[in-house]
């Protein structure tokens, strides 16, 4: 397993993402709510460049007590990364697909030392 520099902690604002070239592969490093997450840049669907997709809040459809619906909403606490190839959406925090949690992104190990972020692949 090889370790790659993914930049300084101070390079990342909250909500940022950086895709890092790690030899033959790539890893996406995300900072969400002050925490860092790292995922391999391969969608579980067709190996698409998942980490280079748009970051979107999860979409919800609130159901009223009378079982009716009126409008959709965003989940302000859940950020998804959306595969730009086919639209598979995964929670950046858990790596699980929104519609089927058995479909998951592959995690990359992350460590922080002396203000620098490292990922292992």
């Amino acid at each position: 397993m090889t370790e790659y520099n993914a930049g300084r902690v101070s390079d990342y604002a909250d909500g940022d993402r950086k895709v890092v070239v790690c030899g033959e592969s790539e890893v996406g490093v995300f900072k969400i709510d002050g925490e860092f997450y790292a995922w391999h840049n391969r969608c579980a669907h067709r190996a698409g460049p998942i980490c280079q997709g748009r970051i979107m809040k999860r979409v919800l459809e609130p159901v009223a007590e009378d079982h009716t619906v009126r409008a959709q909403a965003y989940d302000e606490a859940e950020f998804n990364i959306v595969c730009p190839w086919h639209g598979y959406e995964y929670s950046i925090k858990t790596g699980a697909h929104q519609g089927n949690p058995r479909i998951r992104l592959r995690k990359a190990e992350i460590s922080i030392r002396d203000g620098e972020i490292y990922v292992r692949v």
Partner: protein, 413 residues
């Protein structure tokens, strides 16, 4: 600690893919995976990819035959900034395809093109072919897929012919690897016959296309001369699927996901049912029909339904000498996309029922949101290598009389 962690971080040149990203960067993983699978020496034909002809609509309308309509269209394109393309009736669902911008290549391809020796669409098609690992790509239009629902049948004739001429002169002339199926204005049978005669032998024309979203019975006597002409030429006739929110049978569907899932299968299910039960394969045994962009799951469903019903009511389909499913897996050909892969056992069963080894051909549907890759065929565990090679290119070589020598350059930058 190993040496990699001591050097500066290497960030990917493309951090977020958007409508400005070069096709080669969007599909970089596809190319890498094609190289890994050794597809360089496999002959691969993509039977169904698309360009967005409306981007070039200002050019296309100059090819309209009728001088009055041509002038009207050219003035409209010149003077109406921001208006929809002249004469096109693209369905409103086209606006939803990218899932609100989540799948940007479906929205637009605004990437830089510096080449000036060929049309921009030729450049974009080459980039897609070389990224996917494809030798020949059959390019279809996009909003024109809805022209069969146009309230003015003349408009389908005018625009269909203009597109065929523009395609021949501007796109096909630019690269031998690009192929087309001639757009037939099917709502006006005599004009469809004229299109076969006028364009059927042009360079790069390997067949003919009926866009399936329309309310014309494919078994009507008005089409028998057309089918005879096409059968005689030995080139296939494709039914390219689509959806349309004006279809009353789909009027209650409120999510594009539902419209797309049903519409793309439904139109071809209806046409195929009429095609088989009215004995078209018996009347035209050498006519090769091809069913495009409906996916595959509908075929075994329809085979089972028609076979069961046919045995109980053979007097209503007296031309048939075999079971409906037997016509469907011998006289009919299919394209793969969008291949339903989430239920592998069902997919394997589908391949067996449709005799995929001889009847199925790869298609990507690039750049649409549900595009497929050649690697998906390579990775199917239930196919041997010959079957994979057939589906990826050799079936198409036989059907379309293509030279099966790979010409692509599948090299990593």
């Amino acid at each position: 600690m190993n040496i990699q962690s001591k050097i500066n971080p290497q960030f990917a040149p493309t951090q977020q893919i958007d409508v400005y990203t070069d096709t080669r960067d969007v599909l970089a993983h596809a190319k890498r995976n094609a190289i890994k699978r050794g597809l360089d020496d496999w002959f691969i034909v993509d039977i169904d990819a698309h360009h967005v002809e409306s981007v070039s609509w200002k050019e296309v309308v100059t090819y309209i035959e009728d001088p009055v309509i041509r002038d009207n269209a050219m003035r409209y394109q010149m003077e109406r900034i921001g208006a929809p393309p002249y004469g096109l009736n693209g369905d409103l669902g086209l606006r939803y395809q990218s899932v609100g911008g989540r799948i940007p290549h479906q929205d637009d391809q605004r990437e830089a093109v510096t080449e000036t020796d060929v049309h921009r669409d030729v450049v974009l098609t080459r980039r897609a072919m070389d990224s996917l690992g494809v030798d020949n790509m059959v390019v279809f239009p996009t909003p024109m897929l809805f022209l069969g629902m146009h309230p003015q049948p003349e408009m389908e004739v005018w625009l269909g012919r203009a597109y065929n001429r523009w395609m021949s002169e501007r796109i096909l002339a630019g690269d031998d690897r690009i192929k087309t199926l001639i757009y037939l204005p099917f709502n006006t049978p005599q004009e469809a016959e004229r299109a076969v005669e006028e364009f059927g032998d042009n360079k790069g024309v390997i067949g003919f296309c009926v866009t399936s979203t329309r309310y014309k019975p494919v078994h009507h006597n008005d089409y028998m001369r057309l089918y005879s002409m096409i059968e005689e030429r030995g080139k296939p006739l494709a039914f390219h699927a689509g959806y349309h929110w004006q279809d009353p049978s789909l009027a209650t569907v409120n999510r594009f996901l539902g419209m797309h899932a049903l519409g793309f299968a439904w139109c071809n299910m209806v046409h195929m049912t009429n095609w088989i039960l009215n004995g078209i394969p018996e009347r035209f045994p050498k006519l090769k029909s091809m069913w495009v962009e409906s996916g595959l799951a509908w075929i075994p469903f329809l085979m089972q339904r028609l076979d069961d019903q046919y045995l109980m009511r053979p007097s209503e389909a007296p031309q048939l000498k075999r079971m409906p499913s037997e016509y469907m897996n011998t006289n009919c050909f299919y394209t793969t996309q969008p291949m339903e892969t989430t239920h592998p056992k069902a997919l394997q069963n589908t391949f067996e029922m449709i005799k995929a080894e001889t009847q199925l051909m790869f298609s990507s549907d690039w750049p649409h949101f549900d595009f497929d890759l050649p690697q998906e065929i390579c990775d199917l565990p239930f196919l041997d290598e010959q079957a994979k090679r057939n589906i990826l290119g050799l079936n198409a070589a036989r059907l379309f009389n293509l030279d099966p020598t790979p010409v692509k350059k599948l090299v990593q930058k």
